[in-house]
Symmetry: C2
Subunit: 307 residues, 2 copies
Amino acid sequence: MSNINDVARLAQVSKATVSRVLSGSRGVKEESRLAVLRAAEILNYKPNAIAQSLSCQSTNCIGVICATEHIQQSTGYLQALEKQLSQQHKHLLLRFANDGKSVMHAIQELSNGMCDALVVVGARFPLPELSEDIVLIDCLNPANANSVQCDRIFAAETAVHYLCSQQRRNIALINFPGGEAATLTMDGYRQALHNYVVPFNRQLVIENEPSLRIALQKLINSGVKFTALLVTDDSQAQEAVMMLNQYQLTVPEKVMVFSLDGSTRLPGANTVPAIEYPLENIARRAVELLSGERHNSDLVRGSLLIA
Amino acid sequence: MSNINDVARLAQVSKATVSRVLSGSRGVKEESRLAVLRAAEILNYKPNAIAQSLSCQSTNCIGVICATEHIQQSTGYLQALEKQLSQQHKHLLLRFANDGKSVMHAIQELSNGMCDALVVVGARFPLPELSEDIVLIDCLNPANANSVQCDRIFAAETAVHYLCSQQRRNIALINFPGGEAATLTMDGYRQALHNYVVPFNRQLVIENEPSLRIALQKLINSGVKFTALLVTDDSQAQEAVMMLNQYQLTVPEKVMVFSLDGSTRLPGANTVPAIEYPLENIARRAVELLSGERHNSDLVRGSLLIA
DNA sequence: CTGTTAGCGCATTCAC
DNA sequence: GTGAATGCGCTAACAG
């Protein structure tokens, strides 16, 4: 691979001039500019990114630590993020992690000057206190200032409103296993019920249950009547639909299933109504936070998506 | 962030010694070794990866260009690759691409010294001739020497054998839209039919049809009777199942659907029988190719997976 | 407008 | 065993 010296020599100018030309800075005689460009063309020269990084004290890499638990969701974020980043000529350094410990491990390994910033995506498990300059997307951890969160209250409200409009008033909820997201979802759920003057029935809500199957079993076993079921995401919805069918609780006739996060669903997937978050917006906001353009926690609202 | 000079000063040794200690090379007095380690600990020193890369002429980054068309499949590869790479203390630089042109574009942008090697994953579209040192995983392009391919012949044979064993002898095939993969799949299909003394019926095979819906429509319209349907992957299978159900062709009673690539399916997904490829093996082989340990095209066989 | 110089942080000679 | 010196390829400050 040719380097800046080769180009300088061939173009009969100094390294500095080559650098100036290729970095786009003004103040170079047109003649030498062309000479440099021609030489670079001939030698198929590309400035070495590593050397640039060392010199500028800034790699253009963003480390992205992606939770694997809800991988089909995270992949959507990943694509959206990559799109935003590559538009800004930044690179995405990917790590997967499935619990708090491995997230920390990944952070350690990426904190050696290789990345300009870090993002954690989709960690629905408790995270230890992280450095303030790490951006969180759709994670449980609420304390961090730099994060993009889904507006869970709004989502739950929207869901309940929709279901009530469909004459489903016995709405069950299998909530997040815990954390801020669970609380907020519950808030929106209760608030919306209140608006529709539907009495709140604690039996309809299953909380702190990590497994959907067990949660749903619990709900069914309790014997409480429900005509709609709110679950936290599409994979949960899919499992719920299959399980309900096994109990002759046909979907959507007897029970309408609603997914509180139906972003990034596949085209062919059997669709239940859902809240869809604007992945592009989320990614864009995250990248803004990374660039330090803003410094607060962002709340993103999703929209109702009907099959 | 502290640098090597800080550590050297605190440990009362020279930079060279610090470097030696942290690079693990022998030939350092135990006393100074401990001094260095202690100093590094105190200063929370981490060798700067960029500087190391520049000095060693080797970043530890592998560029991975991932096709988005069959993203749910590619994600599996991505996870497997990341696992293998991180085990070798290598980093994964991710780009997405959805056609030959954007693959080339990504390759250009990653060829600036930032990566030690490149991988293209899941490109089911024709690729231009690529540099020999790029590793292809599950791509259509057959000419390249460095690639890991799925054994399509074996897969089709296995599928047909299984279906025949289930008394399904009228086996339709909606093949890949084209390329080597289509030819090989066809070969395996015909070979297996031959073994079972089932006459080959051209009407049962749909080729060169990019859209599954249209392909399946074509098959149904032709009026030919089929009791089994081979499709190329899980997303196709899912669409096919839905569409068949709409035609009262219940699955699996009337038509048994079989996915020729059912790797990386989600736990709750409605499952049809499929060929499952060993993602870990594939990733491992790819990484071996990257390291230049071998230089041939690798063929990986999948195994039968029954729901 | 342009060339010279001095780093960026580290690994790697080569003497001692 | 160890330290001083050199260079990886580039950018930026400065002087002309």
